[in-house]
């Protein structure tokens, strides 16, 4: 079977989350091209359905990256994001699907090292678990 790249989708808030991504890129960090980022106004806007749809449509792993919880640009957006990620993880567990495929992360604008770590972790999860219902990569 031909080896294919893992597919990782990241929902990233346009505030501190995206700042951390941009800073990582400007710092010259090498990022895995398997990750596709979707910029959202706030992680509080990410719904469980968005995460499930991503998995349904072929993502191997999905993460949500928002501001630090006590420093969220919209105050409680990243708390909402965490709760929704938690709910989806619970749904996946009930269905016997690896809940590690979905994770929530937080970053401050100045955390240039966080995004490469997130990418490495989620790509690793995607590689280890492989596509949902398919062969491991």
């Amino acid at each position: 079977m031909p080896q294919t790249k893992p597919k990782v989708i990241g929902f990233c808030c346009e505030r501190h989350g995206m700042d951390a991504v941009v800073l990582a890129a400007r710092s010259g960090k090498q990022l895995d091209a398997s990750v596709r980022l979707l910029q959202v106004p706030c992680t509080g806007r990410v719904d469980g359905l968005h995460i499930l749809k991503a998995l349904e449509d072929g993502a191997d792993a999905v993460f949500v990256l928002g501001c630090l919880e006590k420093n969220c640009y919209y105050d409680t957006g990243s708390i909402e994001g965490r709760k929704r990620v938690g709910y989806v993880k619970q749904m996946l567990a009930e269905l016997g699907i690896e809940k590690e495929r979905v994770e929530m992360f937080n970053a401050a604008s100045s955390n240039s090292w966080i995004f490469p770590e997130i990418v490495a972790k989620m790509v690793d999860v995607a590689r280890k678990l492989g596509p949902i219902g398919g062969e491991k990569r």
């Binding site: 749809k53 749904m91 269905l95």
Partner: protein, 233 residues
């Protein structure tokens, strides 16, 4: 309103596994308010089941739709084609919705996606609590507007039992004693005299103990002639 909870997803998936074509039907009324079976919950369930099928390599067509009130035939009739076109319907309404579809299409399989829990109210976002058991004979005008049948674990009608301590119920120390709440309410209403009046033994014949209850309002019923004119069966 009627408060319900979604069944465990693995239980739902197991129920639906033998069927090729599934229609999931939500309801925009009570179960949407209690975040169990509204449009969003239907979409999430359909998506989650599709992910599960993908994992197990199962070929199953799942579609979701929502009606205004699943317990009313007129609304269900609007999606009749979709129901009958599927092998099985998963009702994401309370049991009333599931049974309405079942009664309308007796040959068609209709399974419940929710566990219907209680008559309750939203206390705060994400919290619902039971306030009524539908006993058929309301007495809350004598108990400060608080129902002792629903809120007391023993449905005591005349003051708290011996297990009430520090305003808490002995059955669950997290729960407030219903009679402590009734006392407080009557006190602020200046009607504490009611706490000493004896409520007679309850006539339970109006409750579920008499079997299925049917309420009729003769003036609202259609005559055979009216039914014919409206094309009602």
């Amino acid at each position: 309103m009627i408060v319900a909870k979604r069944k465990a997803l693995n239980e739902i998936a197991e129920m639906l596994a033998p069927y090729k074509k599934v229609t999931v039907i939500g309801c925009r009324s009570c179960v949407a308010i209690c975040l169990a079976g509204g449009e969003k919950e239907v979409k999430m369930l359909v998506s989650a089941l599709k992910v599960k099928n993908k994992k197990e390599g199962r070929k199953q067509q799942i579609e979701g739709t929502v009606v205004e009130r699943q317990c009313e035939k007129e609304w269900v009739q609007e999606i009749e084609d979709q129901i009958l076109d599927s092998d099985v319907t998963l009702s994401m309404a309370c049991s009333l919705g599931a049974q309405t579809i079942g009664d309308m299409y007796p040959k068609h399989l209709t399974f419940p996606g929710l566990n219907t829990g209680m008559f309750g109210v939203p206390e705060e976002q994400g919290v619902w609590s039971e306030k009524c058991v539908g006993c058929g004979n309301c007495i809350i005008h004598t108990t400060g507007g608080i129902c002792p049948i629903a809120r007391c674990a023993k449905s005591m009608l005349n003051g708290p039992c011996g297990g009430s301590a520090n305003r808490k119920c002995e059955v669950n120390l997290e729960v407030e004693c219903a009679w402590a709440a009734i006392y407080d309410r009557l006190k602020i209403q200046n009607r504490l005299d009611l706490i000493e009046s004896v409520i007679q033994a309850k006539d339970w014949s109006a409750s579920h103990s008499g079997g299925r209850r049917v309420f009729v309002r003769e003036d609202a019923k259609l005559t055979p002639h009216q039914k014919k004119g409206k094309g009602v069966q």
